[in-house]
């Protein structure tokens, strides 16, 4: 209560004070005969000097920010193309910072120097073809260089992946990410959003999934056609006209989707089921240093964006449309921890397209491993059809001696190939 009283008194006093100031100003103007349209030399000079002072503080602030925070707070680029991007970024920064200082300095110095002085008349200088040609041609030339270098890098970044690049799908929805690895065949199985169920969150296509989706749409416990029909036809259920309309619409949608699922079941080619069978999933995006990755992106609901700040990579994920991107990581997480001098450092994948209330918290850790770690991680995965990475029964007790030996051999080959990939990056660098 007292607080409010104090605020009230302050406001009242403030209003009175302001009114008095206005009157004072009016009186002084009348007394001195000063007119607003005639700017006194003193005011001109003061503002001219402030232009220079402002420039100095502006530049000092810029330099302070640069010294304290550096050119980029993200650390070194952790992908092959990112190194190129950073080089180009730095080159562009050199150009634009030069232009920034040059033109701002000219502006503020002119604004300071050419302030009105008694007896000095402005110079009548309306145009000069030569000058105008100079400042058309020079920017054009600089831009030509920027465009050529930029497009060259752009073509590298967006080029098709080599066939041996590892294929990984990144799936997004409000507000999480999940990765799907293509498994030993390096081919991602097909999907259709209509097959999404609690057991099949990636909506992968195979005979069993189609049947399950259709059945759950027909007879599921919640919201199925059967439940809806029962509710609508039950004379004991009392509902408003709007509710009834809503449920009727929902039923119609479900029936149409059900028909589509039935069609899908009839035309389905069973031989393709195997593509999805050896895929596997991960909540962390695990990558091998030196491996080329071909990512495809998918969204379940709204647009998200897969933003990898450390790899200088970004791509939107769009419902109803597949997008792609590639990159090759060049530092393991451990190497980056040393580089950044931060024991807890983790690579991260962030959502960078406004997608709803928890947009800010939609992230997935990314881990870059060396050959041995990556191999260990991979061989411990269970595939979509419940087998080992190499397609054998997950329980070693069920394997024959020959199968065990075969699997062992494949394991060794895999480890060797990963080591070769990691090593190839080191030789490239040298």
């Amino acid at each position: 209560m007292i607080n409010k009283l104090v605020i009230l008194i302050v406001i009242v006093l403030g209003v009175i004070g302001v009114a008095q100031l206005v009157r004072l100003n009016e009186l002084s103007r009348k007394h001195s005969g000063r007119k607003e349209e005639n700017i006194p030399n003193r005011d001109n000079k003061l503002n001219a000097n402030l232009m220079l002072v402002f420039m100095i503080f502006f530049y000092a602030g810029f330099i302070w920010l640069m010294l304290k925070f550096g050119w980029t707070g993200r650390g070194p680029a952790a992908s092959t193309h990112g190194v190129g991007t950073d080089w180009l970024l730095n080159l562009n920064f050199v150009i634009i910072i030069t232009v920034f200082f040059l033109t701002n300095t000219l502006l503020f110095v002119f604004a300071w120097k050419y302030v009105k002085r008694p007896g000095v008349k402005a110079v009548f200088f309306a145009h000069s073809n030569k000058l105008e040609a100079i400042w058309t041609v020079i920017p054009a030339l600089v831009l030509a260089v920027i465009i050529i270098l930029g497009l060259r890098t752009w073509n590298d970044i967006t080029d098709e992946s080599a066939p041996e690049a590892e294929r990984v799908e990144v799936f997004s929805w409000q507000f999480a990410w999940k990765a799907r690895y293509s498994g030993m065949d390096n081919t991602l199985g097909a999907y259709d959003y209509k097959l999404t169920t609690a057991e099949n969150e990636f909506a992968l296509i195979n005979k069993a999934n189609i049947d399950a989706a259709r059945d759950s749409m027909s007879y599921g416990q919640i919201g199925s056609i059967k439940v809806l029909e029962e509710t609508l036809n039950n004379p004991n259920v009392i509902m408003s006209v709007e509710e009834r309309e809503k449920l009727t619409n929902e039923l119609a949608v479900k029936q149409r989707l059900h028909r589509l699922l039935t069609q899908m079941g009839i035309t389905h080619n069973d031989s393709l089921d195997v593509l999805a069978s050896n895929d596997f999933f991960s909540d962390t995006l695990v990558l091998l240093k030196g491996q080329n990755y071909e990512f495809t992106f998918r969204s379940k609901d709204v647009i998200h964006s897969a933003y990898f700040p450390h790899f200088r990579a970004q791509m939107n994920t769009v419902p109803g449309m597949e997008t792609r991107m590639k990159f090759q990581p060049i530092y393991t997480t451990e190497e980056m921890r040393k580089e950044m001098n931060d024991e807890d450092f983790e690579y991260i994948l962030m959502c960078n397209k406004i997608c709803g209330g928890s947009h800010y918290n939609m992230k997935m850790p990314v881990r870059v491993m060396n050959a041995e770690q990556y191999y260990n991680w991979k061989v411990n995965q269970t595939t979509y059809n419940g087998k080992t990475y190499f397609g054998y029964d997950a329980d070693p007790a069920n394997l024959s001696a020959a199968e065990k030996a075969e699997q062992m051999k494949k394991r060794e080959a895999l480890l060797e190939s990963y080591k070769a990939i990691e090593a190839s990056l080191d030789t490239e660098e040298k």
Binding site: R74, I146, I348
Partner: protein, 598 residues
């Protein structure tokens, strides 16, 4: 002749004007200009307040603030902590109000209306009725947009670009319910207002110029307004169609933008639409929109810089050429907003090329401004300060555009605070500075009073320090990897230690500057309203300027000139012409014997 007859009619009406026809449903362009100004000032203040609310959350995430609960109440700021969905609502409405209501409706609406007839020597706009309609539609749309802040499910929350599917699905975010419907309704009306206004401006400039006012004798303000109006007429209908298709997706079950969606556990049957289509349509308006906002500000500042340097604007024809070039190029660059949508990379290359071309006419404009100041005799009115500030922000914000236009670099900083810094400086600050400059410079023409210069000086210095203090550090926040439209960065503790600390530290600095800059605007408001009622009486030509508006009487008359319309004999930039006694020669002064026109 038509103009004269038109004016004569109005002269007759003048005696019978009632309060309503003079101040409310006025068809006089000067009054309509003032109405636009006041509505825009209100909307601008609301937008600024919203930004302070979300800046408090960004600087001190999760801390309770009485200020937040005072404005947002228990629902949207429980215990004084901002709700995360409302954060998006504030960001969305802040952007919408600033871009469309303050800087499109407000800037163009105020100054095109006020200055086009006055500077070309016309009695009024080609159609006074359409002009009035344009304002009242603007008012109605402002009302709807403002009201959407107060509904139960909150305002639109999909960002000012309202990308579907987020904006199409009420299940995705609460603001996509009634709030989005109101957003779309308001914008539809706004677009109608803008189209009516723009057509009127174009027709007036092309048809109602007084004797001797050749296109090459028009002040650069008029050139800027003309090109702005043409951009508006060509691009706003595309946004209108985008909005209507979105409305259909929301209400009629169509699938223009929707495909393969499961949201909130509900499977939708929409198949075959493309959300990227919306983005193409949106940015086909969206990029010209940047210049719809910017060109009038550049036009106003050209006039102000020339007048107050007492020098002709340097390279008049090059300035017109660059306005036209910017206007044309702005239609073929929209894809640079979409480098990461999965657009064909070759198409991306084309947009890189066209976008970077815009840097050339922009550079020409900057150098021409600099040369205009060179060896001038500068008088610092508050308008001049803001015009010089505009040149600085146009440079500072413009150069970072080179990085964002370069697709290879854009993917590294796209949608981060680097972008936020870029467009707030080059578009936001420049256009707002242009608007302030315009208000200070033409206030005597609008209200017949003078504003207080010294308060104007205080206002300018607080504003430029505050605004640069807000937006300049954002470059560093962006380069540290911080995405925009994030409610709380503190969940990234552990995400590369330095960057995390840096983002949090800078966010506090930015918010402090934002509060300073916002408080500085009180000085402006005070100056504006006190001057309207108690300002010193204005002389007819306070800035000793050449253009026609300063030949009209201080006291407004319907039809602008009491007698004959003035005749124009020269371009508007004969300042400090050698061999002349005065340092300015109004456009109505005939050429002297043997005098060459510029």
């Amino acid at each position: 002749m038509a103009a004269v007859a038109h004016g004569a009619d109005h002269g007759h009406d003048h005696h019978e004007e009632s309060f309503v026809s003079k101040y409310i449903f006025s068809q006089d362009h000067k009054m309509i200009g003032k109405q636009f100004l006041m509505t825009a000032v209100f909307m601008g203040l609301v937008a600024m307040l919203l930004s302070i609310l979300f800046r408090i959350q960004l600087a001190w995430p999760g801390e309770s603030s009485d200020f937040l609960s005072m404005f947002l109440g228990e629902k949207w700021a429980p215990n004084g902590i901002l709700n995360n969905e409302m954060y998006l609502g504030l960001v969305t409405i802040h952007g919408t109000l600033m871009v469309f209501f303050l800087l499109t409706g407000g800037l163009s609406g105020t100054f095109s209306n006020l200055l086009i007839p006055l500077q070309i020597g016309a009695r009024d706009m080609a159609s006074g009725f359409l002009n009035m309609l344009s304002y009242w539609l603007f008012f109605l749309s402002s009302l709807i947009m403002f009201a959407s802040l107060f509904i139960e499910t909150g305002p639109a929350m999909a960002g000012w670009t309202i990308y579907p599917p987020l904006s199409a699905l009420p299940q995705a975010v609460s603001g996509s319910g009634l709030g989005m419907t109101m957003w779309l309704t308001s914008m539809t009306i706004f677009i109608a207002s803008s189209l009516i206004g723009s057509l009127n401006y174009i027709v007036t400039v092309l048809n109602l110029r007084t004797t001797g006012m050749k296109m090459t004798r028009m002040p650069l303000t008029i050139w800027a307004f003309l090109v702005t109006a043409i951009l508006g007429v060509l691009s706003f209908p595309v946004l209108l169609s985008a909005a209507l298709l979105l409305l259909m997706d929301r209400t009629m079950g169509t699938s223009f933008y929707l495909s393969d969606i499961i949201v909130g556990g509900e499977m939708l049957e929409n198949v075959g639409g493309s959300p990227v289509l919306y983005q193409h349509l949106f940015w086909f308006l969206g990029h010209p929109e940047v210049y719809i906002v910017l060109l009038p500000a550049l036009g106003l500042s050209s006039e102000i810089i020339s007048t107050n340097s007492r020098k002709p604007i340097f390279g008049y024809r090059a300035m017109i050429g660059s306005i036209l070039a910017i206007g044309f190029l702005s239609f073929i660059v929209w894809g640079h907003h979409m480098f990461v949508t999965g657009m064909n990379p070759f198409l991306g290359s084309v947009f890189v090329f066209t976008t970077l071309l815009i840097a050339i006419p922009s550079a020409v404009k900057v150098f021409n401004y600099l040369t205009t100041l060179w060896k001038g005799s500068i008088t610092y009115t508050p308008a001049m300060l803001f015009a010089v500030g505009l040149v600085s922000t146009f440079i500072t914000g413009g150069v970072t555009g080179i990085i964002l236009a370069d697709s290879a670099l854009d993917i590294a900083v796209h949608d981060t605070y680097f972008v936020v810094a870029h467009f707030h400086i080059v578009m936001g600050m420049s256009a707002v500075f242009g608007m302030f400059a315009g208000v200070y410079h033409w206030f005597p023409k609008m209200y017949g009073k003078m504003m207080n210069n010294r308060l104007g000086y205080v206002h300018f210095w607080i504003t430029i320090v505050g605004a640069y203090g807000v937006f300049f550090p954002m470059h560093f926040v962006g380069l540290a990897g911080a995405p925009r439209r994030y409610y709380d960065y503190s969940v990234y503790e552990g995400f590369s230690g330095d960057a995390y600390e840096m983002i949090l530290d800078l966010n506090v600095i930015i918010t402090v500057f934002a509060i300073i800059a916002a408080l500085g605007q009180i000085v402006f408001l005070f100056n504006l309203f006190v001057s309207i009622f108690r300002g010193q009486a204005a002389p007819q030509n306070p800035w000793r300027s050449n253009t026609l508006e300063w030949t009209t009487p201080v006291e407004h008359v319907h039809g602008n000139w009491p007698g004959e319309l003035p005749t124009v004999h020269r371009w508007p930039y004969d300042y400090s012409k050698p061999g002349m006694e005065e340092d300015f020669i109004p456009q109505t002064t005939p050429l002297m014997a043997g005098e060459e026109e510029h």
